[in-house]
């Protein structure tokens, strides 16, 4: 199964002296024939006069008879004698190379041993300067700091937006009505953008390949990876590698079949292809993506084949010893997010029951195997720390109709991996583990119900070791079909998209309490920021084309709407992920314990900043107002003069001017106000 890494080094894009960052958008350069690769120089020939010229030519032709000669030229001096060398043009470069190799040192006779060189060699020598120039020592330039965004003094989070042909990266400031824009660039991608898992890179698609953007405020490109027609990319969990797929095979001139070059795995740090692969398609001809599943430490990556799971090592990019797991009929597999364990399930086959199997990599030892009966479908869900594994099993009765749903809950960290079983007589719409927690949530609806009115959401807790899981709460009649746990746990948003019209419920699973409900009409996606403070809901142009609704809303975790922006042709909003904390566990618990102290500090800082902000804003406004008023005063006095001028013109005599009328009115009003009591009646009577 192992394939030799292909020779593709010349595919690398030299990005040191690239003139523009959009050069990849242009057409690929056509290779023009330049240089003299086909011409060789034959030296050490006997100088001959005109009469023997033809004879020497015949000799030369004979010597080079094995090669496709196009032309032979032997320059001669004024006296008609040749200089003792000849230029031979051959039909192609490879035969020139071969000729140099084979004919060099050919002995013509005792005195003349031919020296054959490529013309290029001479050209190169010719260009060399005669003087010795010492090599300049280049000072070490530290690489661009890619992590500046993590050092934000206000601990804010970033996100990118894609709309129309623009991409925008902004900070989210809670207190301000507008996100603070870092940069807006067109052409960062032709389709969509992808953050790397730790947020270091932002991957964009261009015609010619993938561009990784990043770095400090300038958002210059970090790497360009040439993969024409690239459609999709996938980072490894620690963003060391990038998997790309294009429907066109990579243009690699190797003799082996082209099927192998649809998928490429790149080393993100160097920007080089490590290996190319063929793409697997399902029965309907759809591309199976992700092409590979990575282990949590990126040491291994694997994919499903007909006779098992094929596992590769990322250190060598070759299959591991033994090739992986050789179990037939595996339907689905999934890596543990914390250990090098693969969980997979094998459907029923005749009398053999269905099986869930957990296998350690690379030893191939089966850690746990569990037989299940009457299984029609199974789905594996790992808790984010790999402590629990849930297999959601749809079970059927004898008539093959689904009758109930089982949750096989494995406690991975305990001895023997005990299993708890939760059985629901309902259809399950969604299941989600609390990140780093022990709770999980399920949206379920009775099989008999055909409308969405009987949807319920239930919360369960796995509890500590040796405890049985317990139900925390069931919320009935909830318009929800998707679950979004906060990345820090505890808070969850129950979302009802599609037929439910974008209803949102913000729920605290710790207090078992609904914090707030809201709606974002036609919303199609929710996304938590990595700190769990904010959540964005978007109406993407891909799902719903309406200039009225396309845009996004940002809520805080308690369900308060903080910001709403509508944008035409709005596609994407994704928060920038953060790398995992590098602090030791003890330090983190210490910080947790002193959270109130920190929040006090943060609040004070917020208040100060806000105060300054308002002050500054008021100052600017006051200045603007003053300037405006001054300008207007000046214009008004000019206007008066201008108007008098027009009114004074002969042809305009007798016209009524509305401003005159105005003044009259004011005068009249004043007049009347002076009159009090009965006098008013008199005044009216007189008129």
């Amino acid at each position: 199964m192992s394939e030799a890494p292909s020779r593709i080094s010349h595919l690398r894009i030299d990005d040191d002296d690239a003139p523009s960052e959009y050069e990849m958008l242009g057409e690929p350069e056509v290779m023009m024939e330049k240089g003299y690769h086909k011409i060789i120089v034959v030296d050490n020939l006997p100088p001959v006069a005109k009469d023997r010229y033809d004879r020497l030519l015949t000799v030369l032709k004979k010597i080079f008879a094995a090669f496709p000669i196009v032309d032979i030229t032997m320059p001669s001096g004024e006296d008609g004698k040749t200089f003792g060398f000849a230029f031979i043009e051959l039909a192609n470069e490879s035969s020139a190379e071969a000729a140099v190799k084979q004919v060099n040192d050919y002995k013509l006779d005792k005195n003349y041993t031919l020296r054959v060189n490529s013309f290029e060699e001479f050209a190169k020598m010719d260009k060399l300067s005669d003087e010795f120039v010492p090599v300049e020592t280049v000072n070490y330039q530290p690489p661009m700091d890619l992590y500046t965004w993590l050092l934000d003094p206000n601990f804010r989070d970033q996100f990118f937006c894609r709309f129309d042909d623009q991409s925008e990266i902004s900070w989210f400031n809670r207190n301000e009505k507008k996100p603070e824009r870092c940069i807006r660039k067109p052409n960062m991608t032709t389709t969509f953008l992808v953050w790397s898992p730790y947020g270091t890179y932002l991957g964009g698609f261009l015609k010619q390949g993938v561009v990784l953007w990043g770095g400090a405020d300038t958002w210059h490109y970090i790497k360009k990876l040439s993969h024409p027609g690239v459609k999709i990319m996938d980072f490894s969990p620690r963003e060391g590698f990038l998997v790309t797929f294009s429907p066109e095979p990579l243009p690699i001139d190797s003799s082996d079949d082209k099927d192998r070059h649809f998928v490429a795995i790149w080393d993100v740090a160097t920007g080089e292809i490590r290996r190319t692969f063929s793409i697997l398609k399902d029965d309907n001809g759809n591309v199976i993506w992700p092409a590979f599943q990575w282990s949590h430490d990126e040491k291994y990556f694997a994919r499903l084949t007909a006779d098992g799971i094929l596992i590769y090592e990322s250190s060598t990019f070759k299959a591991i010893k033994g090739g992986g797991i050789k179990v037939a009929n595996i339907r689905e597999f999934s890596w543990s997010p914390a250990d090098n364990i693969i969980a997979c399930w094998i459907p029923e086959n005749g009398n053999i029951p269905a099986k869930i199997q957990m296998i350690e990599v690379p030893s191939g030892k089966t850690v746990r195997a569990h037989n299940l009966f009457q299984v029609s479908e199974c789905k594996l869900h790992w808790q984010s720390k790999g402590e629990f594994l849930c297999a959601k099993v749809d079970r059927h009765g004898k008539n093959k109709k689904q009758t109930c749903t089982n949750f096989e809950l494995y406690r991975m960290k305990e001895k023997g991996i005990p299993v708890d079983v939760l059985t629901l007589d309902d259809k399950v719409l969604a299941f989600a583990w609390e990140p780093s927690g022990t709770r999980f949530a399920i949206i379920h609806v009775p099989f008999t119900a055909n409308s969405g009115t009987k949807t319920s959401v239930s919360f369960y807790n796995m509890g500590k070791a040796n405890e049985k899981f317990s139900r925390l709460a069931t919320l009935e009649k909830r318009p929800a079909n998707l679950l979004f746990w906060s990345p820090t746990g505890r808070f969850i948003v129950l979302a009802g998209f599609g037929a439910f019209g974008g209803s949102l419920e913000f729920y605290d699973s710790h207090e078992n309490d609904t914090l707030q409900t809201g709606t974002h009409t036609m919303a199609s996606q929710l996304e938590w920021d990595p700190s769990g403070r904010y959540i964005s809901s978007i109406v993407s142009y891909w799902r719903h084309q309406s200039s009225l609704e396309n845009g996004f809303t940002i809520w805080d975790f308690q369900g308060r709407e903080l910001l709403h922006v509508s944008r035409e042709k709005f596609y994407q909003l994704v928060w920038r992920p953060r790398p995992p904390a590098i602090l030791p566990e003890t330090k983190i618990t210490e910080i947790r314990a002193n959270l109130t102290a920190y929040s006090k500090k943060a609040k004070a800082a917020d208040a100060k900043r806000l105060g300054e902000l308002f002050e500054q804003r008021n100052k600017v406004k006051e200045e603007q107002r003053k300037a405006f008023l001054e300008a207007r005063e000046k214009m008004r006095s000019e206007l008066k003069a201008d108007r008098e001028k027009i009114k004074g013109r002969k042809e305009n005599a007798g016209l009524r001017w509305y401003d005159d009328y105005d003044n009259e009115l004011v005068e009249r009003v004043e007049e009347v106000e002076e009159i009090v009591g009965d006098a008013v009646v008199e005044e009216v009577a007189r008129n």
Binding site: R174, N175, G501, T521, M522, S546, S547, L548, E549, R560, E561, H564, S566, K603, D606, A607, L610, F614, K621, Q624, R625, F628, A631, R632, M635, R636, L639, D642, R643, I646, K647, N652, L655, R656, W657, Y658, Y661, D662, L665, R668, V669, V672, V680, E683, V684, N687
Partner: protein, 437 residues
């Protein structure tokens, strides 16, 4: 006829009983003038009556319904007020100001323009149903209507409130306001988008599109006031506009020196009266500009566009001064006279609205601070796009006219002039600040 008399009487009674602070009723002399006018225009209505009795009866019914409708609406708005609101991000007028709307429903098709006369005692509403209605701004009583040939797109009234210019399809009609006489008709070879009198009222312009959106033109006519029925036999001064796209609106520029045109492609052009471009076209807006509105002193103007913004320009130098952002297409705007506010109105057309989620917020009339570009308040009243808003020249009243055929009249309370909106905005800001900390 007896019904007519009754109506007049009712109107008078209402006038007398009216105790709200209104400059017109405070001013006795003015009031008397009103009543005089009332008599005059009643005559006009009678005349019309003879021509079209059935029509008027329907209108009477409409009027009766209006009173109730208005009351209902008040009630509804009160209910709205009582409703507790979650996280107030924008302020509505109802919270800080009780504002008395008068609903004017006399049109069967969309209202295209609302305009006050110079005295601010009459409101003219133009509609696609081919009529222009006149209403007392005092109480919303309808005085009568002028029947045009086709959909009325634009109107203007002379400073002395004597004459009404009406641009209906391809005709400009000149009416006497007081008795409803059709005095003169100009034929125009195209679809009229704008009619406007100049400063001094001795000329007016007619902006129109010829055929398929190409070659929009402007005609300028002289207007004789002394014998309105016998307009001088004149050929119009023709200005062929050098613009891209079709003409949306045009208006007289500063001191009649030039003509400002806005187009469907979002361009703003300034031509002199000889048809030469005075300056480079301005392309600040990215989409169709719907309207131009001038400040009371005509030193500033506002352009309202489908790109969800309204922009404030200096009418002399054409520099862009401010931009007001809403979430929806802006169809119309107006300047408050006494305070530095502008109001905007708009909304997406019905075909778009019905296919997406219903948010009536888009049909709101919004108050913006002229200086700060910030939204101060909004009134949600119409249930369709609001084609026109106008501020009365005395600054006390404003009107709106909607696609659903209803016009609304708002008498601004005293609190407004004392700065209630600014105060409320401050309070809001403070509350938000408190929320953050």
């Amino acid at each position: 006829m007896s019904a007519k008399g009754k109506k007049g009487g009712a109107a008078k009674n209402k006038n007398n009983n009216n105790k709200k602070p209104n400059p017109n009723t405070n001013n006795n002399e003015k009031k008397q003038q009103n009543e005089k006018k009332n008599e005059k225009t009643n005559n006009a209505v009678e005349k019309k009556d003879n021509q079209n009795k059935n029509n008027n009866n329907i209108n009477d019914n409409n009027n009766n319904n209006n009173a109730e409708g208005g009351a209902n609406n008040e009630r509804r708005e009160k209910q709205k007020k009582q409703k507790p609101k979650k996280l107030q991000t924008q302020l509505t007028v109802q919270r800080n100001l009780t504002i008395r709307p008068i609903v004017l429903s006399g049109h069967e098709r969309p209202v295209t323009q609302t305009k006050f006369n110079n005295d601010s005692d009459l409101l003219f509403t133009a509609s696609k149903d081919g009529t222009v209605s006149v209403w007392y701004t005092d109480n919303g009583e309808r005085l009568g209507s002028y029947q045009g040939k086709g959909a009325v797109s634009s109107i203007d009234i002379t400073t002395d409130s004597e004459l009404l210019l009406m641009g209906a399809t391809d005709e400009v009609n000149l009416w006497r306001v007081s008795n409803g006489d059709l005095l003169y008709t100009w034929k125009i070879p195209g679809r009229i988008v704008s009619v406007e009198l100049n400063y001094g009222n001795n000329q007016f312009l007619v902006g129109f599109n010829v055929g398929t959106a190409q070659n929009p033109r402007i005609y300028v006519y002289n207007l004789s006031h002394t014998q309105p029925g016998l307009q001088p036999k004149q050929t119009a001064q023709e200005i062929i506009l050098k613009v891209e796209g079709s003409l949306s609106k045009c208006a007289w520029g500063y001191m009649n020196e030039n003509i400002i045109s806005v187009t469907s492609k979002g361009g703003l052009y300034v031509h002199d009266l000889n048809g030469n471009l005075v300056r480079e076209p301005i392309h600040d807006h990215t989409r169709n500009i719907n309207n131009i509105a001038f400040s009371h002193d005509r030193l500033y103007f506002l352009t309202c566009s489908d790109d969800n913004t309204a922009r404030l320009y200096n009418a002399k130098t054409f520099t862009l001064l401010r931009t007001y952002e809403t979430h929806y297409p802006v169809l119309s705007g107006a300047f408050s006279k006494d305070l530095d506010h502008i109001i905007t109105s708009g909304g997406l057309p019905a075909d778009v609205t019905t296919t997406s989620g219903g948010d009536l917020g888009q049909f709101a009339t919004r108050f913006f601070s002229l200086m700060d570009e910030g939204e101060l308040a909004s009134i949600r009243a119409h249930f369709g796009p609001v084609n026109s808003v106008a501020f009365s020249p005395n600054g006390k009243i404003f009107s709106s006219g909607g696609e659903e055929g209803v016009a609304r009249l708002y008498h601004l309370p005293e609190d407004y002039f004392k700065g209630a909106l600014e105060e409320a905005a401050e309070v809001d800001l403070a509350a938000e600040l408190a929320l953050q900390l």
